[in-house]
């Protein structure tokens, strides 16, 4: 005789499936994200509508902070500089790691050495690296780069002391610091491309160029698209280089949006957290929209 089998409730099923364990495992992450990411985001939104010096009682000021930020003539300067910096960074910093990785993937011997060399700049703490480069960029004829330029009869150049050269100089340093890590990611992707594909192409008589264009690039295209947007976002948020190298100078030539946020927040004794958060919120919204747009536009290539 068959005993009627009671169907387990959904809760019991969930319990048996390890639901509690899952929650327990998630809690630390949730707490950390909540405290250090989500809570500050909400706080920032709130603060962008307040006059708040973090000591006395905050005051609601409606859209005042946004009006102040949007009517500041430096907003245009900072936005233009940020776009310029992003353009230069992508122009210089996007193809370089791909080229380096492609070259490294080709070599069979000593690849480890090249990998270490490429990654070396990444292990120097960013602030230290920038302070070092600041010495290299000394504008006098005895500066490191000017001495090197002098060997081939060039210079001396003013580097970061000149309005025209400062931004490219910052981008060169940024590329030097960042390219290594990206190169390794590309290298990992390239070495996982099945060798049969190349072999088959070679037998069919495909040139090196065709092999790169038809095999290598399509294989790593989704990765390229992702790394490009991450690089775009990182460049948009450039702060450390202008902050330490030039303080935004000379004459605002390297003032970026993030530096402007910082100046609002910390350039006065607690009178600027409102405008600083307002500009951050605006900036986050714009970047978010750009990101969505980017993925819409590039959807076809990424898959």
């Amino acid at each position: 005789m068959e005993t009627p089998h009671r169907r387990p409730t959904r809760l019991a099923q969930w319990k048996r499936g390890g639901g509690f364990t899952a929650i327990a495992l998630m809690v630390p992450t949730l707490v950390i994200f909540g405290m250090f990411s989500w809570f500050p985001i909400v706080r920032a939104l709130v603060m962008s509508f307040q006059e708040n010096n973090m000591v006395t009682e905050p005051k609601w000021v409606q859209w005042d902070n946004y009006t102040r930020v949007l009517s500041d003539p430096l907003l245009f300067v900072a936005a233009r500089n940020t776009l310029y910096l992003t353009g230069l960074s992508v122009l210089l910093g996007f193809p370089l790691p791909i080229i380096l990785a492609a070259m490294m993937a080709e070599v069979k011997r000593l690849r480890g050495v090249y990998t270490v060399l490429a990654y070396l700049p990444s292990i120097i703490p960013p602030v230290v690296a920038i302070l070092l480069w600041k010495v290299f960029y000394d504008g006098s004829a005895s500066g490191v780069f000017n001495t090197i330029a002098g060997w081939v009869g060039l210079g001396p150049y003013p580097w970061i002391q000149s309005q025209g050269m400062a931004m490219p100089a910052l981008v060169v340093q940024g590329t030097w610091a960042g390219a290594g890590a990206t190169t390794l990611i590309y290298l990992a992707a390239l070495t996982s491309v099945p060798a049969d594909l190349y072999d088959a192409a070679e037998i069919d008589g495909a040139s090196l160029w065709r092999r790169i264009w038809h095999i290598m690039l399509p294989q790593i295209r989704p990765l390229m698209m992702l790394l490009l947007i991450l690089q775009l976002i990182a460049s948009f948020q450039a702060f450390l280089e202008p902050f330490i190298f030039t303080g935004g100078g000379p004459a605002n030539a390297t003032l970026t949006l993030m530096l402007q946020v910082y100046n609002y927040a910390f350039g006065s004794l607690g009178n600027g957290y409102g405008p600083a958060t307002a500009l951050s919120v605006l900036f986050a919204v714009v970047l978010g929209l750009l990101t969505i747009l980017y993925f819409r536009v590039t959807k076809r290539w990424s898959e």
Partner: protein, 462 residues
């Protein structure tokens, strides 16, 4: 694909909003502080105090450790921990907001006013009243730490006037007499040109990065009879488009582009100009009269090259920009800590200025550790106390005062002018790009620049 979008968006958001993760430190009002009578000053208490600037030499560290030991011997219930710390316009506000300042810290006069208005420091007046010299401060100096009722919220620890620092060695190399430093701005220009031509170093440099740009602009403006800002928060005026600032910018333009006497590096701030000066790369620059001490402690300067003279004052109303430092107690301190903090401020900063015992004890520790003694400042108390102190310290003095007579012989005769009162740091930072423009753009139109920055200044102080 969707994952990528989310990841990228998360990157955007967490990156742009990182700065809001600051905590808050509640302000203390007079009411919440205990009266000194209610504070048990013999209970064990521990405080953190501002130590030396990061990067200070071992000798200076040893001297400080000895001071701490002497203090703890005198106040057996107090434990003092020193923190390497230096006021920095870029980080101070965030430390204040985040509540990470030491119990005792120093701020420039300019920031003191804002801290007072916002009640961002501990009200120590009642503890300070027990000090023997309470109420005897030089009027202008004492006022820097007082509220409108005359309560002392912060205690002045030093005062300085701006001076012209010059390199005696480069003077000699250029054929100039190091005992006859320039006394007019025309001479400064002329000397700078000679130094640059004869030595290849910068004849004259000026700080331009961040707030320091506006600070020195204002100093030179005062010396030429200008007042970049006047008035009170309710009624403030700015005067950037003035004859005196025009004169200054034209002079800088001529030195930079005609004479080529300002060297190759223009984005100097306080730290880099001191470092370059100590390294013998700069002939002259405008800075505080007390710079020899940090240059000894951080830049290993050869004292023989150091020269200090009064900044030239030309025209009606001209004077010397003066400033100073205030010792403040963190708003987060308990009443017991505040009492201990005031005892430390008295011991470490002020008694050495106002009492023979303090001055001599300080000098002995400094002497034993090879630290400078006798660097000219500006009187924190009256002129008599300053002179007395010089007398107490005479046997210990080890800095080359004869290389600073151009300054010390005039320091009591010049008019000392306070820094702009309204939004000082904001104004300074907003004016820095103007100076940078002159030094980085050969074809700069000064009249147009002045007009542009007049309106920048107006909207900054509004």
């Amino acid at each position: 694909m969707k994952r990528y979008v989310t990841a990228a968006l998360a990157g955007v958001i967490s990156g742009t909003m990182i700065l809001t993760g600051c905590g808050s430190s509640p302000g203390k009002t007079d009411e919440s502080a205990k009266a000194p009578a209610d504070v048990d000053t013999s209970a064990p208490v521990s405080i953190t105090v501002q130590g030396l600037a990061p990067g200070a030499e071992a000798d200076a560290q040893a001297a400080l450790a000895e001071q701490v030991a002497a203090f703890q011997e005198k106040h057996t219930n107090i434990t003092v921990k020193t923190e390497e710390w230096q006021w920095d316009v870029q980080t101070f506000a965030s430390q204040l907001a985040g509540g990470t300042l030491p119990t005792v810290f120093q701020v420039p006069f300019t920031d003191g006013r804002t801290l007072l208005e916002n009640q961002q420091v501990y009200p120590i007046d009642e503890f300070a009243q027990t000090l023997p010299y309470y109420g005897k401060f030089n009027e202008t100096v004492g006022a820097a730490g007082q509220d409108s009722d005359g309560k002392q919220w912060m205690i002045p620890t030093m005062a300085y006037g701006m001076g012209l620092t010059y390199n005696r060695d480069l003077f000699e190399q250029a054929g100039l007499d190091p005992d006859k430093p320039p006394t007019t701005w025309d001479e400064i220009r002329e000397y700078a040109k000679t130094i640059a031509e004869k030595t290849g170093q910068s004849g004259y440099s000026q700080m331009t990065k961040d707030g320091t740009g506006g600070w020195i602009l204002t100093t030179v403006d005062y010396s030429l009879g200008g007042r970049i800002e006047a008035g009170t928060p309710d009624d403030v005026t700015v005067d950037v488009n003035s004859d005196s600032i025009k004169k200054q910018l034209e002079m800088l333009k001529a030195m930079r582009w005609e004479d080529n006497s300002m060297g190759a590096n223009q984005l100097h701030d306080w730290g880099s100009i001191n470092a370059d000066f100590a390294a013998g790369k700069i002939g002259m620059f405008v800075g505080g009269s007390d710079l020899l001490e940090p240059m000894i402690q951080m830049n290993q300067i050869n004292e023989d090259i150091y020269g200090l003279t009064m900044i030239p004052t030309e025209g009606d109303n001209s004077g010397v920009l003066g400033g100073g430092a205030l010792a403040a107690v963190s708003a987060k301190a308990t009443p017991e800590q505040a009492a201990a903090a005031v005892a430390w401020i008295d011991f470490y900063y002020v008694s050495r200025l106002g009492t023979e015992e303090g001055a001599v004890a300080d000098a002995k520790i400094r002497e034993a550790n090879g630290q400078p003694i006798g660097i000219p400042g500006f009187p924190v108390f009256d002129e008599q106390t300053y002179q007395d102190r010089e007398g107490w310290l005479k046997p210990y003095m080890n800095v080359p005062l004869e290389q600073m007579t151009g300054y010390t012989s005039k320091m009591f005769d010049v008019e000392l002018i306070s820094e702009p009162a309204v939004k000082t740091q904001e104004l300074y930072a907003a004016m820095a790009p103007m100076v940078q423009e002159v030094l980085s753009n050969k074809d700069v139109d000064i009249d147009q620049l002045l007009e542009q920055y007049q309106s920048v200044a107006e909207s900054t102080v509004k």
